[in-house]
């Protein structure tokens, strides 16, 4: 019988913190490793669908009201495979498939217009300093309620320089390494290239098409991503520490529409565990999370 099966019936209150940690790690170990084929297939399928929309839309084969929602879903789905790559879940540096890790990392967020290296470095800062008002680059999503977060996010997007953009730039500046400088420069090039793309297609007579393919999907998809990947799993974002900076939660939208974020607490505890294993790992680790005083809202 596996460790995770036995822990469900054990009384954990008598265990010391160290014993609890050893038990937690031995359970988590059961869910680590292996190639996350699901995420790899997800990355390339999503990108191919989004790229296919371009000729179909520009040639008028599909109407804009069809393009815009599909492209928005593409944008929403484009982040998480890259997130797997950011944590080197597909392969670590020096491993045979590291090229695939980097390929997924760079290509998957193309619909979102996200620079992989900047995302990776700033995301590591988020992990190191989750919920820290000064140091967590994602802290700007902190809000009292979901609706307030959405209003705040839309307001922020209406600024010519967003708070979020500034927070990411500051995080890279704080790092101060050559790698961070390069990542920042790449992010800048991405932003300028996006605008050049929009301007070029718009002046060529395809402004509405490019709005449906890129501009609107990034605005709407961005809100969705920040809501479920940043606000929801960290709400109320008041505590620091391994067992308190992230929560489990039950969403009315379920696990698929929240992109697995109901179990995001598992990701913060074990960042290299593949996303598709989070639900099973959560169920196995739940007694320990309860013993640690984690916030598990309805799940």
């Amino acid at each position: 019988m596996s460790v995770s099966a036995t822990v469900q019936e054990r009384d954990l209150s008598a265990l010391t913190s160290q014993e609890l940690m050893r038990l937690e790690r031995s359970i988590a170990e059961e869910f680590m490793g292996g190639l996350p084929w699901g995420s790899i297939a997800w990355a390339f399928t999503n990108l191919v669908v989004w790229l296919s929309l371009w000729p179909l839309t520009l040639s008028g084969l599909i109407p804009l009201w069809v393009t815009a929602p599909i492209a928005t879903v593409n944008v929403i789905l484009s982040y998480l495979p890259s997130h797997e790559a950011q944590h080197r879940i597909i392969a670590r540096e020096g491993e045979r498939l590291f090229w695939l890790n980097e390929l997924v990392g760079h290509l998957s967020p193309v619909p979102l217009g996200l620079s992989y290296e900047a995302a990776r470095l700033t995301h590591y800062e988020h992990h190191k300093h989750a919920n820290d008002l000064e140091l967590d680059p994602d802290i700007n999503t902190k809000s009292d309620s979901g609706w307030r977060m959405i209003v705040k996010d839309i307001r922020s997007q209406l600024q010519t320089v967003t708070k979020m953009g500034t927070a990411y730039a500051k995080a890279l500046e704080r790092l101060g390494t050559e790698e961070a400088r390069r990542a920042g420069a790449t992010a800048l090039i991405y932003a300028l290239a996006t605008n050049a793309l929009l301007f070029g297609f718009a002046w060529a007579g395809h402004a509405l098409e490019v709005a449906a393919l890129v501009w609107l999907p990034r605005i709407v998809g961005g809100v969705y991503i920040r809501f479920f990947l940043s606000w929801a799993p960290h709400h109320p974002a008041a505590d620091l520490g391994r067992y308190r900076d992230t929560r489990g939660f039950r969403s009315r939208l379920g696990n698929i529409l929240t992109m697995g974020m109901q179990y995001h607490i598992i990701h913060h505890l074990y960042p290299r565990m593949p996303l598709f294993r989070h639900p099973a790992a959560f169920r196995a680790l739940r007694p320990i999370l309860v013993a640690r005083g984690c916030r598990l809202d309805g799940i």
């Binding site: 500034t166 992010a187 501009w215």
Partner: protein, 90 residues
């Protein structure tokens, strides 16, 4: 998303030669200017043709005329310029 990150222009750094540093500094200044004026450029570069195309789609009679583009440029340019000054699109 770090879309407007890195306002720091690249400098030559210690050990780089003077012309290279000067070139990099000039590039940095130009880049800074470009970023500062981005809302206005966005108004002209994207909003203007977007409005023009919207007008042409909704008013078929305007399809071959010049005025939709002029209206687009007027609205997009003004909107971008105001955003540039106030720091907000709305």
């Amino acid at each position: 998303m770090p879309r407007d990150s890195v306002a720091q222009p690249p400098d030559g750094g210690a050990g780089s030669d003077a012309p290279a540093a000067a070139g990099a500094s000039l590039m940095g200044r130009l880049l800074g200017l470009l970023l500062q004026g981005m809302p206005f450029i966005f108004g002209i570069g994207f909003i203007a043709p977007l409005i023009a195309q919207l007008l042409e789609r909704t008013l078929p009679a305007a399809a071959q005329a010049q005025w939709p583009l002029l209206v687009g440029l007027a609205i997009g340019g003004t909107w971008g310029a105001v955003a540039n000054v106030t720091g907000r699109w709305l």
